[in-house]
């Protein structure tokens, strides 16, 4: 009796020790897994990209993954993934994916190719028959263009600077790890400065509310559109806090928010219109950048291509004139382009603090003159007058102010 009690105690002690050891190993595994994820500031992203992310595993280790890193001078890759199952097996498979992503994606390939290649490699030797849903995007930091491909993952939500929220129209391919012949298609979107893309795993939408309902995508859309601050940091905090306070996660829960924030562009929203203010450096490079940013803003708001062309042309003509006059002056000056967008029109306002100068007061060049008498210059203002639905010059508070209106043909 005494012996058996002693045996029992020894066995129990050994079990407890073994359990403690396993627990300890799991903790190490968890910290190794967390170390695979980018920490704030750890990936040295260019200043044009803002990211914010959080991952909460349901168990100590999990099968969710997010990542983002610089691919080359002009591109940043981002991804979110969810391995079938939870716990140790999912964590190991996730580690394989993290490694593959780093290898395959650094080549600068399009996301559909990246998914194709990762899939091909994971299908080999996948005896455990695990699979992964993944969304993967490549952001061009010069113009806010994103190519995005998805393998069975929930479509990301785009919250615009205006505060509207909608799902991306992704064309989902099969989850990766199953079928080596699976094909993926990339779609393209353009972000305007102030827009934020929110990627998530189903741990968010499938978290349980107190009333027994799931959190759901609709609720996530509402939460995002109600947020006052649309920055990636604020949206992430808002989503994570809302889910934590109102629902109980049953699965790994991951959110990744990303926005494009070119230096020199700010934005603000009023009741009637959305405005972007571009303050470029006074140079041809500054003008070209302004054109690019303007084009992205208008493309992101589905403005018709020919109207984007007109707006860009007007901006170039007016700004190159300003650069020429300020360059000649050779001192510390400023210029800006304000782009205001309403459902019916585009209002562009160019301001500079150079000497008072009204380009519209110049005599129009004689376009029908004999070629030998024809002037080579003066054509820019002619273009502006012809392309704009209205243009008005004023001199206000020491600034030249040129206001151009274009009617939108599509809404």
């Amino acid at each position: 009796m005494r012996d058996s009690l002693k045996n029992h105690i020894e066995l129990r002690a050994a079990n407890l020790a073994e359990q403690a050891r396993l627990e300890h190993e799991l903790q190490i595994a968890a910290s190794i897994q967390q170390a695979m994820l980018p920490k704030p500031g750890s990936r040295a992203l260019p200043p044009e990209v803002r990211t914010a992310a959080a991952l909460t595993p349901a168990k100590q280790v999990g099968g969710d993954l997010y990542d983002y890193f610089t691919v080359d001078d002009t591109h940043v890759l981002f991804a979110i993934a969810d391995v079938s199952d939870k716990g140790i097996p999912a964590a190991l498979f996730m580690a394989r994916l993290a490694g593959l992503l780093g290898v395959v994606a650094t080549s600068g390939k399009s996301p559909d190719r990246i998914l194709h290649e990762i899939n091909a490699r994971l299908v080999e030797d996948n005896d455990a028959c695990m699979f992964i849903t993944i969304g993967c995007g490549l952001l061009d930091i010069r113009n806010g263009h994103i190519r995005y491909a998805s393998a069975g993952h929930d479509a990301p939500l785009l919250r615009t600077a205006e505060g509207s929220v909608a799902s991306l129209a992704v064309e989902n391919g099969a989850a990766i790890g199953i079928d080596s012949s699976a094909e993926y298609t990339a779609m393209e979107i353009v972000l305007a400065p102030g827009d934020t893309l929110v990627l998530f795993t189903d741990g968010v939408t499938e978290a349980w509310m107190a009333d027994g309902a799931q959190f759901g995508t609709e609720r996530l859309v509402t939460v995002l559109s109600e947020a006052k601050d649309g920055s990636s940091d604020a949206l992430l905090r808002h989503v994570v806090d809302t889910v934590a306070s109102s629902a109980r996660a049953a699965d790994d829960l991951t959110v990744l928010a990303l926005s494009w924030t070119p230096r020199g562009v700010t934005w603000n929203r009023s009741e009637k219109a959305m405005r972007w203010l571009i303050e470029p450096q006074i140079s041809n490079v500054g003008v070209a950048q302004t054109q690019q940013w303007l084009r992205s803003i208008l493309a992101a708001r589905a403005v018709a291509a020919d109207l984007i062309n007109d707006a860009e042309l007007i901006a170039e003509e007016l700004l190159t004139n300003v650069v020429r006059s300020l360059d000649a002056r050779g001192c510390d000056s400023r210029m800006s382009l304000d782009c205001e967008l309403t459902p019916t029109q585009i209002v562009m306002t160019v301001r500079d603090d150079g000497p008072p100068f009204d380009p519209l007061a110049l005599a129009a060049p004689d376009l029908d003159a004999d070629i030998s008498d024809r002037s080579v210059g003066g054509l820019g203002v002619t273009l502006v007058r012809q392309l704009a639905d209205s243009c008005r010059y004023s001199h206000v508070d020491g600034h030249n102010v040129m206001e151009i209106r274009l009617h939108r043909t599509t809404v």
């Binding site: 070209a288 291509a305 170039e316 003509e317 190159t320 070629i371 030998s372 054509l379 820019g380 273009l383």
Partner: protein, 122 residues
Amino acid sequence: MPLEIVAEPSNPSTLVLAGRLDSTTAPELEAVLDRVLKKAPPRLVFDLSKLEYLSSAGIRCFVRARKALEPGGGKVAIVNPQPSVRKVLDIVKAVPAGGIFKDIAELDAYLDEIQRQVRDRD
């Protein structure tokens, strides 16, 4: 996409422009024109089928070529501009009516016609 200029050693002299011709890229075309205009070709063709964007800085190049060649009896022709580029050319009358052709074939037919007229006159 920046500007790409291909000078085709064909008859007539042809410059194929692709991408964007604006205040940033126009100096590249100006530099090419410095060389081309020195030779005073009787005909200079700008093939714009791959040109996506044109601003006044680019139009100045076309006007400059006309100013250099036309007084000596030369001719500048523009071939196949995309609609957005055509709109800009038309607004500032960069080349006279009849100087823009929808494709190389139309230009060739026109040039053949001129040659025939010259032959008939002789």
